[in-house]
C-alpha cells in the first residue's frame, strides 16, 4: 500500500488566513471600484458634453425682436415700383420716430440696435403688401447680435463700458424700448428656415439641412443597392477562393480607413479627374456612399447569415432556382436587419465632416441648394463653419446647430431600434 501524504485540513480561521482572505476580498472590491469609476467617468464626461451644449445652445432657440412702426412715405418709396425705394431712409425714419430727441453722431449708434438687413425686410414686406405705402408699417425686426445677447442676459451690465460691445447709452435705449413693450422674444424659427448669414441673428440651418438631405439621398441611392447586391453575392453565391477572400479582407479594411482619406479620394477622382462641381451634394453623397458601403455590406451579410439554412433548403427543395430562393425567401426575411444597419450607417454618414471639408462643402452659401449639383453645406460642416466664426452669437448658434444635428441622429437611431424590435425575429 502506498502512503498518500495527506495534509491536515487548512484552518481557515487563523488570523493569517483571515488576513489573506480580507486582502483578497479587498482586491476584488478595488477592481470593482475601478470599473465603477471608469464607467462613471465616461458617463460623467458624456453628461458634461451634453450639459455644456445645452447651456450654451438653448439661448439660440429664441430670438430677440423689436417692433418698429416704419413710416412708408411716398417720398422714399414710389408706389409704382415699391421694390426700388430708398428703404435705408425708411428704416432711419422709423428709428428716429422712436427716439425723436437723439440727433447727430448718436443716430449711428441707435441704428445698431436693429439687424443689418432691416431695410431688405421692410422692402419685402412693402412689396408683399403695397397698400401700406403712404401709411405706417408695423414690423417686428430681429435685434442685432449684441442686443440679442443683452436681452438674453449673456452680456453683463456691470462690466466696464469699453469691455462690452454695447455702450451704456445703447443699453438705456434698449431698456426704454423694452419698457414700451416693443421687445419680444419669440421662438427662433429662423434657425430652421433661414440659411447661413454673416449675422448670427439671421443665420439658420435651412441650407445645411437641405444639403445634408440631398447628400444622404445620393448616399442611400448609391450605397444601398450596391451594398445589398455585393453582400448577397459574397454570402450566397460566391465560391470560396482567393478572389472572394481578397474582396472580404478589402471590405474589412475599407471600413477602418480614416474618413479623411475618402475625402482625398473624392477630391482627386470626383472633382479633379471627372470634373464634377465643387461643394455639390452629389459629390458629398458619392464620397459618403463609398464610406457607408462597407458598413452596409457587413451588416447585410450578418443578417443573411442569421437566416437559418432550413429556409434555403425548403426553397430549393420545392424547385426554386438559387436566385429565386434568395430573392423570394432569404432577402425578405433579412430585410429588417438590413434596413436597421443601413439607417445606422446613414446616421454615421450624417455626422461625417472631414471628407466634406475636402470637397468644399464648407463654403459660405446663403440659400438652400436647388438640386444635387448646386453648391451646398451639410449640417456638420455648417457647425464647423459657425464654430470658426468670431462673433459671440455664433457660439450659441453652434451649440444649437449641434443639438439639431444630435436630434436628427437620435430620430434616425430610434427608427432603427424601433425597426429592430418590431420586425426582427429570432429563429
Amino acid at each position: 500500500m502506498v502512503d498518500i501524504a495527506t495534509r491536515p485540513p487548512i484552518d481557515w480561521s487563523t488570523p493569517a488566513a483571515r488576513a489573506r482572505r480580507k486582502s483578497r476580498y479587498a482586491a476584488n472590491r478595488r477592481l470593482q471600484a475601478y470599473g465603477i469609476a471608469a464607467i462613471s467617468l465616461a458617463i460623467g464626461l458624456l453628461g458634461i458634453l451634453i450639459i455644456s451644449l445645452i447651456a450654451t445652445g438653448y439661448s439660440a432657440f429664441v430670438t430677440t425682436r423689436i417692433t418698429v412702426d416704419f413710416p412708408i412715405s411716398t417720398e422714399y418709396v414710389n408706389p409704382e415700383d415699391p421694390a426700388r425705394g430708398n428703404y435705408r431712409a425708411v428704416v432711419k425714419a422709423g428709428i428716429e420716430e422712436l427716439f425723436p430727441n437723439v440727433t447727430g453722431p448718436d443716430e449711428r449708434a441707435l441704428g445698431q440696435l436693429l439687424t443689418n438687413n432691416t431695410q431688405f425686410m421692410v422692402r419685402d414686406a412693402v412689396v408683399a403688401d403695397p397698400s401700406v405705402i403712404g401709411g405706417k408699417l408695423s414690423l417686428s425686426v430681429p435685434a442685432s447680435d449684441p442686443f440679442d445677447q443683452l436681452n438674453k442676459g449673456l452680456v453683463d451690465r456691470n462690466t466696464p463700458e469699453d469691455e462690452r460691445r454695447v455702450t451704456d447709452q445703447q443699453i438705456q435705449w434698449f431698456d426704454q424700448l423694452e419698457a414700451e413693450g416693443r421687445v419680444s422674444t419669440p421662438f427662433n424659427w429662423g434657425l430652421f428656415f433661414n440659411s447661413d448669414s454673416r449675422f448670427p441673428e439671421l443665420a439658420g440651418l435651412a441650407g445645411a439641412i437641405v444639403g445634408s438631405f440631398y447628400a444622404l439621398l445620393v448616399c442611400f441611392l448609391v450605397a444601398f443597392p450596391i451594398g445589398i447586391a455585393a453582400a448577397i453575392y459574397l454570402e450566397e453565391f460566391a465560391p470560396r477562393n482567393r478572389w472572394t477572400d481578397l474582396i472580404e479582407v478589402n471590405i474589412n479594411n475599407l471600413a477602418a480607413v480614416p474618413s479623411i482619406v475618402f475625402g482625398l479620394l473624392g477630391l482627386a477622382v470626383f472633382l479633379n479627374f471627372i470634373g464634377l462641381p465643387r461643394s455639390a451634394p452629389l459629390v458629398g453623397g458619392l464620397v459618403l456612399a463609398l464610406m457607408t458601403l462597407p458598413t452596409i455590406i457587413i451588416v447585410t451579410r450578418a443578417s443573411l447569415k442569421a437566416i437559418p439554412p432550413s429556409i434555403r433548403e425548403a426553397g430549393l427543395g420545392i424547385g426554386a432556382s438559387k436566385h429565386q430562393m434568395v430573392m423570394h425567401h432569404v432577402l425578405p426575411l433579412a430585410l429588417p436587419g438590413i434596413l436597421t444597419g443601413t439607417i445606422i450607417g446613414l446616421a454615421q454618414a450624417l455626422g461625417e465632416t472631414a471628407p466634406l471639408l475636402l470637397i468644399g462643402m464648407n463654403a459660405f452659401i446663403t440659400s438652400p441648394p436647388g438640386g444635387i449639383l448646386d453648391a451646398a453645406t451639410a449640417l456638420p460642416t455648417q457647425v464647423f463653419i459657425w464654430a470658426d466664426s468670431p462673433e459671440r452669437g455664433f457660439v450659441a448658434l453652434t451649440s444649437a446647430g449641434i443639438l439639431v444635428l444630435l436630434g436628427f441622429l437620435i430620430i434616425m437611431n430610434s427608427i432603427a431600434i424601433f425597426l429592430r424590435q418590431r420586425l426582427e425575429r429570432s429563429w
Binding site: L264, T353, V383
Partner: protein
Amino acid sequence: MAGYAFLLIALMTTAAYLLGRGRGARIWAGGDGSKVHSLPGYHGAFVAAWVGIPAFILGLFWLFLQGPIIDQFLIASLPTSMTDGATASQINLLVSEIKNVAAGQVFKEPTPDIVAAAERYELWGQIARWAMIVVALAVMVVALSFARSRLAPRFRARNAFEHVLSGLMIFCSVVAIATTIGIVSSLVFEAWRFFTMVPVTEFLFGLRWEPQIALRDDQVAGLGAFGAIPVFTGTILIAFLAMLVATPIGIFTAIYLVEYSSDRARKIIKPIMEILAGVPTVVYGFFAVLTVAPAIREFGGLIGIAVSPNSAIAAGGVMGIMIIPFISSLSDDALNAVPRSMRDGSLALGATPSETMIKVLLPAALPGIVGGVLLGVSRAIGETMIVVMAAGLIASLTLNPLDSVTTVTVQIVTLLIGDTEFDSPKTLAAFALGLVLFLVTLCLNVIALRIVRKYREQYD
C-alpha cells in the same frame, strides 16, 4: 436635361418589362403551357435588362465625357491669337470665362470673340444633350426589338436574366475593390508628383514644416519647407494622450460589464456607450474648444503653469473620450469570447472574481484586447475634426502635452481647404501626408484584424 434622359430610360425600361411580360403571357396562353420554360415575368425582366442596362451605362459615360470633350472642341475653336503662347492655367481661365458668359454671369463687357465662343459652347451643349437622348433612344429601340425577337416558348428567359443578375452582383462586389484601387492610385499618383518637387528623404526626415509658400509672385510667404517629422511627432503625441485616456477607462468598463455588472446595469450602460460612440466628431471638437481647453488652461493658470490655448492635452483628452466606447466594446467582445468553462473553473476553485479576471480571463483575452487597442490607435491617428478644431496649425517639434502641436490630418485639411492649385507642392504635400496616413492605418488595421481573428479561431 440629364435627369430627363434618365427618366426616359426608366420609362422605357418599364415599358420593355410590360411588353416582354405581355409577350410571355401570350406565349403561355397560346402554346401548350407545360412546354414553356420561363414565367411571363422573367420574359419581361429579360427584355427590361436588355433595354435598361446598356442605355444606363451609355448615359453615365456620356455625362462624364461630354464636359471634357466639349471643352477640347472649345479650345480648338478659339482664334489662335487667344491661345498662342498661353499657359494651361490661362486657357482654363479663358474657358471658365466663356462658361460664365454662356451662363449669363457677365461681370465686365466680354470681347466679341468670347461672346461667339460662348454661343458656340451653348449650342454644342444643346446638341450634345439632344444627341444623348436620341442615341440612347436608338440603342433602347434596337435592344428592345432584339430582345423581344428572342422570346419563344423554349427560350430560357429565367436563366438568361439570372445570369445578368449575377453579373450585376459581381460588379457591385468589385466596387469595394475599385474604391481601394481608387484611393491607392490617386494618393500614389499625387504623392509621386509631390516627390518630384520635394525629395522623399527631405519629406520623411526633415525637421521643418512650413508649407505656406507663395502661390503668386507678389505674395509674402516663407520659402517653404516640407520636413514632416514635427507633424508626425505631433500626431503620435496626441494619439498617445488619447490612448492614455481611452485604454484604462475602456478596459475597466469592459471588466466591470463582464464580471460585476447586473443584467439591468448592463442594459443601461451599453446604450450609453453607444451614444458616446455615435456622437459626431465635430461635436467632440467643439466640446474641446468650448469646454475642455479653457478648463485645462484655467487649471494650469491656477497652479502656475502656462498652457497653450490649443494644447495637445485638450485635443488628445477629448479624442480619448471618443475612443472609450471603441476600446470597451472590443474588450467586452474579447472577454466574452473566453470559454465559460475557464471562468467557471477558476471561480469553482475559490478564486475571487477579481482573481478570475486578472489571472484567467485577461490573459486569455489579451490578444483580442491588444487588437482592439491597435484599432483604437489607428482611429486616433486618422481622426480629423477634433484636432482640426482643437489642435494647433504650427508644426513645432515638441513632446510637451501642454504645448500646441499639429497633426497629419490637420495639415491635410488646412492645405486643401480653399483654393486648390494642383501643381503646387503645397496642395500635393497633402496627398503625400494622406499616403503616409493611409499606409500606417492600413498596417495597424491589418495587424489588429489578424490578431483578433487568430485569437477567435483559438477558441472557436
